[in-house]
């Protein structure tokens, strides 16, 4: 299992799905571990009641059905599907509403879903999901991308409130792929994923949603920045190592 995870960490991102299905057939005894630990592109369903789309993940799944955050109903219908408590559902509804606006302001499109459930130690867990198709066929405002996908998964474990403070543990994953294609420069694709964790103890007078939202906003900013500055930068560095830009080559004979 450790070797399998090591392999998946090093696998080129666009082969993740193929590699995962290969590992599943090699290690059927670890299939649930593999499926829960390897991040895959997010899938979407349409809520029949509200007509809105919602995102599928392990956290809104029960048997083979997925709960919509809009209607609180399972798709396909499932009797006795587990539901959050009424109080938590109230927070979930509010989180979905506010997160929709947050998503619109940062993503100018896309789909978001928030799921919450009680955990075993008097706290709760919330999962914030965003899926954006940034291609010119999708929600790409500027039309630069032939293909563009951003999937963000934020899972926050919220501890019990003690003396007006709660502990928040956020684990965020972003998977992305972007492709530009034109006659002058051909096909150019960058894809990948990163995952980071953030822990904070915060006073709750402004509410859980406010705390969770700020953490997610900060984290998304950091992840976007790392991808842009570090990860894309490293692949560019590699290209320039393979074939240094001409100025560098000109300097070589002198040294």
């Amino acid at each position: 299992m450790e070797a399998a995870m090591g392999l998946m960490r090093r696998m080129p991102p666009k082969h993740i799905e193929t590699a995962l299905s290969a590992l599943l057939s090699l290690l059927p005894q670890h299939s649930s571990d593999l499926l829960s630990q390897v991040d895959q592109p997010l899938q979407v369903l349409c809520d029949v009641d509200s007509g809105k789309e919602f995102i599928l993940c392990e956290y809104n799944r029960d048997a083979d059905s997925y709960r919509s955050p809009w209607s609180n109903k399972y798709h396909p219908p499932l009797e006795d599907g587990s539901l959050p408590s009424p109080d938590l559902r109230k927070l979930e509804i509010e989180a979905n509403d506010v997160f929709t606006i947050y998503r619109d302001q940062y993503y100018e499109g896309g789909i978001s879903s928030v799921y919450m459930w009680e955990d075993d130690n008097e706290g709760f867990v919330a999962c914030f999901l965003i899926k954006k198709d940034g291609s010119k066929m999708g929600h790409g405002r500027r039309g630069y991308l032939q293909e563009g996908a951003w999937d963000a998964i934020h899972v926050i474990e919220v501890g019990p409130v003690e003396e007006g403070t709660a502990h928040y543990r956020l684990t965020s994953t972003v998977m992305l792929s972007l492709t530009t294609n034109n006659d002058a420069s051909g096909m150019f694709n960058l894809s990948g994923s990163i995952r980071r964790e953030m822990n904070m103890d915060l006073p709750i007078q402004e509410g859980h949603l406010c705390n969770m939202g700020r953490m997610i906003e900060e984290m998304e900013g950091k992840l976007r920045n790392s991808l842009d500055q570090v990860y894309f930068g490293k692949t560019k560095e590699m290209v320039c190592t393979l074939r240094p830009p001409s100025e560098v080559v000109m300097r070589l004979p002198e040294t």
């Binding site: 090591g6 392999l7 960490r9 090093r10 696998m11 080129p12 991102p13 666009k14 509010e94 509403d97 506010v98 606006i101 302001q105 940062y106 993503y107 954006k132 940034g134 929600h139 500027r142 039309g143 630069y144 991308l145 563009g148 951003w150 992305l176 972007l178 420069s185 051909g186 096909m187 150019f188 694709n189 960058l190 894809s191 990948g192 994923s193 990163i194 995952r195 402004e206 949603l209 406010c210 939202g213 700020r214 906003e217 998304e220 976007r224 991808l227 842009d228 990860y231 894309f232 490293k234 692949t235 560019k236 590699m238 290209v239 190592t241 393979l242 074939r243 240094p244 830009p245 080559v249």
Partner: protein
């Protein structure tokens, strides 16, 4: 031995063989046109087991060889200047038995440069010295000194240029396929995959002059392509990447989490007034 899709570079004995379909003579035999040697490869162990001189039938005619040899020399010069760890081969793709002017033939230039970090042998276990003969060469081989530079990353640049000498119209048609990949996976996993095709042409001249103009066309296109890759990168932060997620919200200020009630209120009002969603 470095595997890159269908291009595999093997340092065996004292020559370097690019193992590609262009070099393939039989199922285990690959020609190194520069040394006129044939490497016999064990595909399972992925090592070069034996080497023999190529037979006359396996080599191009003296006429074609003159063009091939001249181009190889020019490409070698170019590779030496442009790719610090590059290797190249020039094969005869078609018409290797053409004896003189009056018929068409085709040369194929294969250029590859790659870097692999030693920590990632799980993908490239065959970079390790496998047999005595390869290990001797590997000690002198250049890729080991990249160890400290690129820890968790791999990369490769490959170009394949089909160069058709069309005798009837006295034109050389060039068709290039360039492919660049880079993979960085330290605390994350990000990959570049880029492809480009280009065409150009020139007139047929004597072998050496043809070689000079073909090599300069290749150099020109590959330099332009590198510049366009750099442009793609520099467009990322403010244009391309913005279509996935903006750095700041459309309001240009951080999201007002402390004041989200305003949204529900505005939404309620717009709902009642029948505007918006």
């Amino acid at each position: 031995m470095v595997r890159e899709n269908n291009l595999l570079v093997d340092r065996c004995f004292d020559c370097m063989v690019i193992i590609s379909s262009f070099a393939e003579l039989g199922k285990n035999e690959f020609l190194d046109p520069r040394t006129a040697q044939v490497a016999i490869i064990d595909h399972v162990k992925q090592v070069c087991t034996e080497e023999r001189p190529a037979t006359d039938e396996e080599l191009p005619s003296p006429y074609v060889e003159e063009f091939r040899y001249a181009l190889d020399a020019e490409i070698l010069k170019y590779i030496g200047e442009a790719y610090p760890k590059g290797v190249c081969s020039v094969y005869c793709g078609n018409g290797k038995d053409v004896e003189g002017p009056g018929a068409d033939f085709e040369l194929v230039v294969v250029i590859c440069a790659s870097r692999h970090s030693p920590q990632n042998f799980c993908f490239l276990p065959l970079n390790l010295p496998v047999s005595n003969s390869t290990s001797i060469n590997l000690e002198h081989s250049s890729f080991l000194d990249t160890i400290l530079v690129d820890m968790d990353s791999n990369g490769s640049w490959r170009s394949v240029w089909n160069i058709e000498f069309k005798d009837d119209i006295q034109v050389v048609d060039l068709n290039g396929k360039l492919q660049v990949g880079a993979h960085y996976f330290e605390e994350g996993n990000v990959q570049l995959d880029a492809k480009h095709e280009c065409k150009d042409s020139t007139i047929i001249q004597a072998a050496e002059d043809s070689a000079i103009s073909v090599a300069s066309i290749i150099r020109h296109h590959e330099t332009e392509y590198l510049a366009s890759l750099e442009a793609s990168y520099s467009n990322l932060p403010d244009t391309t990447f913005k279509d996935l997620r903006r750095k700041l919200p459309v309001t240009r200020t951080l999201f007002p989490w402390h004041n989200t009630m305003q949204f529900s209120l505005t939404r309620d009002i717009s709902k009642e007034l029948g505007i918006g969603k």
